[in-house]
């Protein structure tokens, strides 16, 4: 069916176009906010310079502005900024270091912590929701429901504190904060990783559980489930082969959205456990008013979110044939 394939292709192109438009708008908004602040970027770059007379300072400012392209009109500045950002050049931070270098150093630990937490929370949520769904005891189901509700209203940093009290202060099994690079010592790295990953994962687990639980319950009433039971399948067979795959679908979107906006949790958890990732860098830079670094992290995380959301959408299309119909 060539017409169907063509329609699908047009759909993909349209989606890509929308993605590009949102990316442009995101970068434009970041740029506008960045330029809303008082004083120019050149002013911020050269700092107070006590040894310079006002005239010398003025001269330096003018030459630096010219060099940074700040004498050009704002739309041109925006184009230069976007072009540089697309090439991975985010300018210099307040210490005169390359922002791309500083940010790049923090990416590894952040990705490690993020991936670990998502793995823990998705696997955990699957296990817990299957237990709640399959158990015969109402106490177990009620207990899980209660624990999930508590986790939903617990701020991450308080949960982290409780975990630190139990596992670091009382039991002394795990260190309370710190980091060892994964390439230096894998075992040590894992030790430091466990508490922050758990802190980040538990609230996610609660969220995923709510969707999985609702999915499992809704699917269990579907006609095809009754049909499979009527065909004589065992309870276990029905649950794992028919109910679960269909119940998981809506949760995939939620997992994707959480993965895309993981940085919000990372900001807190990395500060709690002194984990040297992007989130900690963001908080440090906000306190030092390091505009360039903050703006680049804002841009990177927003772009990451848009791209992840796009990929999840695409994945959903692959997994659920019903959404593949060309419109």
């Amino acid at each position: 069916m060539p017409s169907l394939r063509k329609a699908r292709l047009v759909g993909v192109v349209a989606q890509l176009g929308q993605l590009l438009a949102v990316l442009l708008a995101v970068s434009l908004l970041t740029f506008i906010l960045l330029n809303a602040l008082p004083g120019s970027a050149a002013d911020a770059r050269i700092g107070p310079l006590p040894n310079f007379s006002p005239e010398e300072r003025e001269q330096l400012l003018a030459s630096l502005s010219k060099q940074m392209g700040l004498d050009k009109p704002l739309p041109i500045q925006y184009l230069i900024w976007v072009k540089d950002a697309a090439n991975g050049n985010f300018g210099l931070n307040y210490q005169g270091l390359e922002v791309s270098q500083v940010v790049g150093d923090r990416l590894g630990p952040t990705i490690e912590l993020g991936v670990a937490s998502i793995l823990l929370s998705t696997i955990g949520a699957l296990i817990v929701s299957l237990i709640a769904y399959r158990t015969r005891w109402r106490v177990v189901r009620g207990g899980i429901q209660g624990a999930v509700t508590v986790l939903m209203v617990m701020p991450t940093f308080w949960l982290g504190l409780l975990l630190v009290i139990v596992f670091a202060a009382e039991l002394q099994w795990l260190p309370s904060a710190g980091f060892t690079s994964i390439s230096d010592d894998f075992g040590e790295n894992l030790k430091y990783l466990l508490l922050p990953a758990l802190t980040l994962a538990l609230p996610q687990l609660a969220l995923f559980f709510r969707y999985l639980n609702a999915g499992l319950r809704d699917t269990s009433h579907a006609a095809f489930v009754t049909a499979s039971r009527a065909r004589g399948l065992t309870n276990r067979g029905v649950d794992y082969r028919h109910v679960l795959p269909n119940a998981v679908l809506p949760t995939i979107t939620v997992v994707g959205l959480v993965a895309g906006s993981l940085i919000s949790g990372l900001v807190i958890v990395e500060s709690v456990f002194s984990w040297p990732g992007l989130g900690l860098l963001l908080v440090e830079s906000v306190k030092k008013k390091d505009y360039n670094t903050v703006a680049s992290i804002v841009l990177i995380t927003a772009v990451a979110y848009v791209v992840v959301a796009f990929l999840v959408d695409a994945l959903y299309r692959v997994l659920d044939p019903r959404t593949r119909r060309p419109t």
Binding site: A21, V22, A25, V26, L29, T30, L33, L34, A36, L37, T149, V150, M152, V153, M154, P155, T156, F157, W158, L161, L162, V164, I165, A168, A169, E170, S176, G260, S261, I263, S264, V267, I268, S271, V272, L282, V283, S285, V286, K287, K289, Y291, V294, A295, I297, V298, T301, A302, Y305, V306, A309
Partner: protein
């Protein structure tokens, strides 16, 4: 005479009690949890047993009779600091939720009701705002506009506004097709009249549920910001910055953080319970008395 008053008092008490009993349980529990915190925010001086700023005892004491939650790292009473923190935390969360709600609902209902190109453009803008992760955008705004409380409130509000707009837009879309809206339009009601007098009141039950969820996440975001040291500045207490200090002394005083942590969770939980209660309360009488329902879509 006095007997009459007592009987009347008992009767009114009984009717009040039965009115409370008729409300959805989560709503009652939520309000009961929230009331002490509102009192703490309104009259911290009356409730706090000690001066929250005065250094008056041995630092890092465990909970005791005179210091119910113990003392902090310089010897101030933790319970009193928790009580004084309620004002700042509740003010920031309620104010930012209110701003986010007003802006989001206005934008969303308008967008959903008007539809077509206006809707597309407004919703793409909301999409763009939604692409910025919550805390990251709040931190960005605080970097640019400074650390004052009002910047904090506006930053939290702006961060939560897009999702509210998204949600209310759905309501606007649904209500646009209702019979009474159409009837008002036919009788010459202006767009503003219809939005304010028909769409908004009918969307309110659903929107109030969303507002309570909003207030709950506002509490958590506000606490996160002050935990990061970007909210209320010491010595001014807030639950977030108290938890931050608690981390520094976790090995010496493991119970330090329990008080402020419980406060945050209780307030956030109370809002969610109130929302759940409102949802149950309105679920039954939703759609009742609307023209679209009774006439079957004019």
């Amino acid at each position: 005479m006095t007997g009459d008053v007592a009987v009347a008092g008992r009767a009114s008490f009984r009717s009040a009690w039965s009115w409370v009993r008729s409300q959805p349980t989560p709503l009652v529990i939520g309000v009961v949890i929230l009331i002490p915190f509102l009192l703490m925010a309104a009259f911290p001086g009356l409730l706090a047993p000690h001066d929250p700023f005065k250094i008056e005892a041995i630092p890092l004491q465990p909970p005791s009779g005179s210091y119910l939650l113990g003392t902090d790292e310089v010897g101030r009473d933790l319970l009193s600091r928790c009580i004084y923190a309620a004002r700042n935390d509740l003010l920031v969360s309620i104010a930012s939720a209110a701003v986010a709600f007003t802006l989001g609902v206005a934008l969303g209902l308008f967008s959903g009701y008007v539809g077509r190109r206006t809707d597309t453009i407004l919703m793409r803008l909301v999409d763009v705002l939604l692409s910025f992760p919550t805390i990251v955008l709040a931190l960005f705004l605080i970097t640019i506009f400074g650390r004052s409380m009002w910047v904090q409130i506006l930053a939290i509000a702006l961060v939560m506004m897009p999702s509210t707009a998204r949600f209310s837009r759905g309501e606007g879309l649904v209500l646009r097709g209702r019979g009474y809206v159409e009837a008002s339009r036919i009788s010459g009601g202006s767009r503003r009249h219809i939005l304010v007098r028909h769409v908004l009141p009918n969307a309110m039950p659903t929107l109030l549920v969303a507002a309570s969820v909003l207030a709950s996440s506002a509490v958590l975001i506000a606490a996160s910001l002050s935990y990061l040291g970007l909210g209320a500045q010491p010595p001014e207490p807030s639950w977030g910055n108290m938890l931050r200090s608690a981390y520094g002394v976790v090995f010496d005083a493991p119970l330090y953080g329990i008080g402020p942590g419980v406060c945050i969770s209780l307030v956030a939980g109370a809002y969610i319970l109130i929302g759940e209660g409102l949802r149950r309360k309105f679920r039954t009488d939703r759609n009742v008395g609307t023209l679209g329902n009774t006439v079957g879509g004019v």
